[in-house]
């Protein structure tokens, strides 16, 4: 087209063909844009965001490593499994990173690489389960408030306001401490420290989920308020659908995108909370490890004589990169779902 040597008739023909050629894909993308569901359109936008897709791959890789590593140890057996057993004490205390111990060893000669991956199990699990707890509470609370309106709405949201003004981390500390003591004192865990440990972790799931649903409730309420007066909801109501049916079939599926986005941002926040608590010794109890307890162990080994940098750099590095990837992923999801951004 830009070639000046071609004569005019060819140019016209060329412009016509290019016009048709150009027009066709335009039309087809337009068509597919029109026919794509909101989910498909969001997915297309998400795929274009390079930071978010890389983060997603990183998280998938991490998850695979966390799941595969214990299996690998079980299958291989022998010396390899013994050296990398996260609870196996050895004489190689404070060994720096090497071909044997990729992340070095800690104060009891345990393999830090294994401990970091086993700690990831707890940290990721707390993040995901806590986020699901906050999702359930937040969506129910917000959609009931938004849908019911009136006095119910103002009561429910006033409670959210009150909870917002509590200093969260202190509230969690006091809550966990109290419930944790109650668990320790109840008699069916008296004989089994294993069960007590598991209950304690479950408590952290619920406790952290229970303080992280406030923003979710606010966002969901706003969405429900705008959805409630839409034509399709009115239509459903005139056809005789009850409140429960409208909420479950029409309202909640429509806030799915927003809710998922916010969950993706809640997971790193809860992981951070958990590691804060574990760092203070209020979260996961030894010998169980999470990233927070690993950091705490690293910090206690700070001394002026020898620097055991690997005890801090490796668990901290994995924690920071994971949080980073989750934040990029959350931002990517938000941009992909946000219709206003287009």
């Amino acid at each position: 087209m830009n070639d000046e040597k071609v004569d005019s008739s060819k140019l016209i023909a060329a412009s016509q063909t290019t016009a048709t050629v150009v027009a066709k894909p335009k039309l087809s993308t337009l068509n597919s844009q029109l026919h794509a569901s909101p989910g498909q359109r969001a997915w297309r936008r998400f795929k274009k965001n390079r930071a978010a897709t890389w983060s997603a791959w990183y998280l998938i890789f991490l998850l695979a490593a966390v799941i595969a590593w214990p299996l690998l140890l079980k299958i291989s057996g022998g010396d390899f499994a013994k050296r990398h057993n996260p609870d196996q004490l050895s004489d190689a205390q404070f060994a720096p990173p090497s071909a044997h111990y990729w992340f070095g060893t800690d104060t009891h000669g345990r393999d830090l690489f294994s401990r970091t991956l086993y700690g990831a199990q707890i940290s990721l699990l707390v993040g995901i389960v806590g986020a699901i707890v906050s999702l359930v509470i937040g969506v129910l609370w917000g959609s009931i408030a938004g849908y019911a309106g009136g006095r119910t709405d103002s009561t429910l949201m006033r409670i959210v306001d009150v909870l917002y003004s509590l200093p969260t981390i202190i509230f969690v500390i006091v809550l966990l401490k109290t419930l944790g003591e109650l668990i320790n004192q109840s008699h069916f865990v008296k004989n089994s420290p294993m069960l007590a440990g598991k209950l304690h972790v479950a408590l952290i799931f619920i406790g952290l989920g229970a303080v992280s649903w406030l923003t979710m409730a606010r966002i969901v309420r706003g969405q429900v308020l705008s959805l409630r007066s839409r034509a399709f909801v009115e239509a459903s109501r005139t056809l005789g659908a009850g409140t429960t049916r409208i909420l479950l079939r029409h309202i909640i599926p429509n806030i799915f995108g927003v809710a998922i986005t916010y969950v993706a941002l809640t997971v790193p926040a809860i992981i951070l909370y958990e590691s804060f608590l574990s760092f203070l010794g209020l979260g996961v109890q030894p010998p169980m490890a999470s990233w927070g307890t690993l950091m705490a162990e690293g910090v206690t080994q700070i001394n002026p004589i020898r620097i055991y940098w690997w005890l801090i750099i490796f668990p901290g590095g994995v924690l920071v990169t994971t949080l980073l990837a989750m934040n990029f992923l959350g931002d990517g999801l938000r941009d992909a779902w946000d219709v206003k951004a287009k």
């Binding site: 003004s165 509590l166 981390i169 109290t178 203070l280 910090v299 700070i302 620097i307 901290g316």
Partner: protein, 304 residues
């Protein structure tokens, strides 16, 4: 009028918080005087409980606590012998406030220029690099920054002391460790604000009148872009004051966070309830102050 109502609303709120904290702390089994060793003789235990009124029903204890609170008395600590909670606050709060204030200054000093710069350079590699830096600082918890700072600047280079809190020199590393997270927060809010402001009509109008780009950004867009930062400043200060206990723990700083963590472990009832209340007051007060500052800064904002 609006603010008067808000202040009035804060009173029942504080009552609810104090009741909640009181109930939760007392609900936990075991008491402040249970020790690892053999319990003291029943007479001694009874005398101690009598002294601190722990043998009374819980509603009566709460009533007594509220009565003391009206006189500005947070009660006596059960664990730190011969110290009242007021003493502990008087001792720890100035330290925590200094630390929080310094961290606040650090976050603003780095975050504001970073946000401004990335917004002005939007779409360039400077923007990508700066924005990545901002999100990176958000993802580093203080208990990762603090040990890394100690390892590098105190152990290896020996520029700063490792811990404690006795001279201005000691304050630098803890303030950086505490403030780094908020650098990223402030930068992101600032960038967002600048981008919104740069697209608004009055900036376009000023540009149409031929104002140079620098004046446009510094004199016109910046003023509006600062508003979201101001509204974040309240919660941020509250977070800095209440969230400093990790940093205080690592650097062995005698702030108020140490008391809080220890007391919740030791079941020192009065200290836990008192400090929770103090934090809640700080949070509510700061939010109120920010909303008030908002009306002064932006005449378009009116609360009914």
């Amino acid at each position: 009028m609006y603010f008067f109502r808000r202040i009035l609303f804060a009173i029942p709120l504080l009552l609810v918080i104090s009741a909640l904290a009181f109930l939760l702390v007392h609900l936990a089994p075991g008491g402040p005087f249970d020790t690892e060793r053999k319990p003291a003789s029943p007479e001694i235990e009874r005398n101690i409980k009598e002294k601190y009124h722990l043998n009374e029903p819980i509603w009566k204890q709460y009533g007594r606590y509220l009565g003391d609170l009206l006189h500005g008395d947070f009660g006596v600590s059960l664990k730190y012998r011969n110290h009242s909670v007021n003493d502990l606050i008087a001792q720890g709060l100035p330290v925590s406030m200094t630390l929080g204030g310094l961290a606040f200054c650090f976050a603003m000093a780095i975050g504001l220029p970073l946000g401004f710069f990335t917004a002005v350079q939007r779409g360039t590699w400077w923007d990508y690099g700066g924005s990545f830096l901002a999100i990176f600082t958000i993802c580093i918890p203080s208990f990762v920054v603090a040990p890394v700072l100690i390892l590098v600047f105190a152990m290896k280079l020996k520029w700063f002391p490792v811990a404690l809190w006795s001279s201005p020199w000691h304050m630098i590393l803890p303030s950086v460790a505490l403030g780094l997270f908020f650098v990223g927060k402030v930068a992101r809010i600032m960038r967002e604000g600048m981008l919104t402001a740069a697209q608004s009509e009055f900036v376009t109008a000023a540009r149409a009148k031929g104002l140079p780009e620098t004046t446009l950004m510094v004199k016109h867009a910046l003023r509006i872009a600062l508003l979201p930062v101001v509204s974040y400043a309240g919660p941020m200060l509250a977070d800095l004051l209440t969230g400093s206990f990790i940093v205080e723990n690592i650097f062995q700083i005698p702030g108020i966070g140490v008391f809080l963590v220890n007391s919740s472990l030791n079941r020192d009832y009065t200290v836990v309830v008192g400090l929770s209340l103090l934090y809640a007051m700080l949070l509510i007060g700061l939010n109120l102050a920010v909303d008030f500052a908002y009306t002064l800064l932006d005449p378009r904002v009116k609360y009914e």
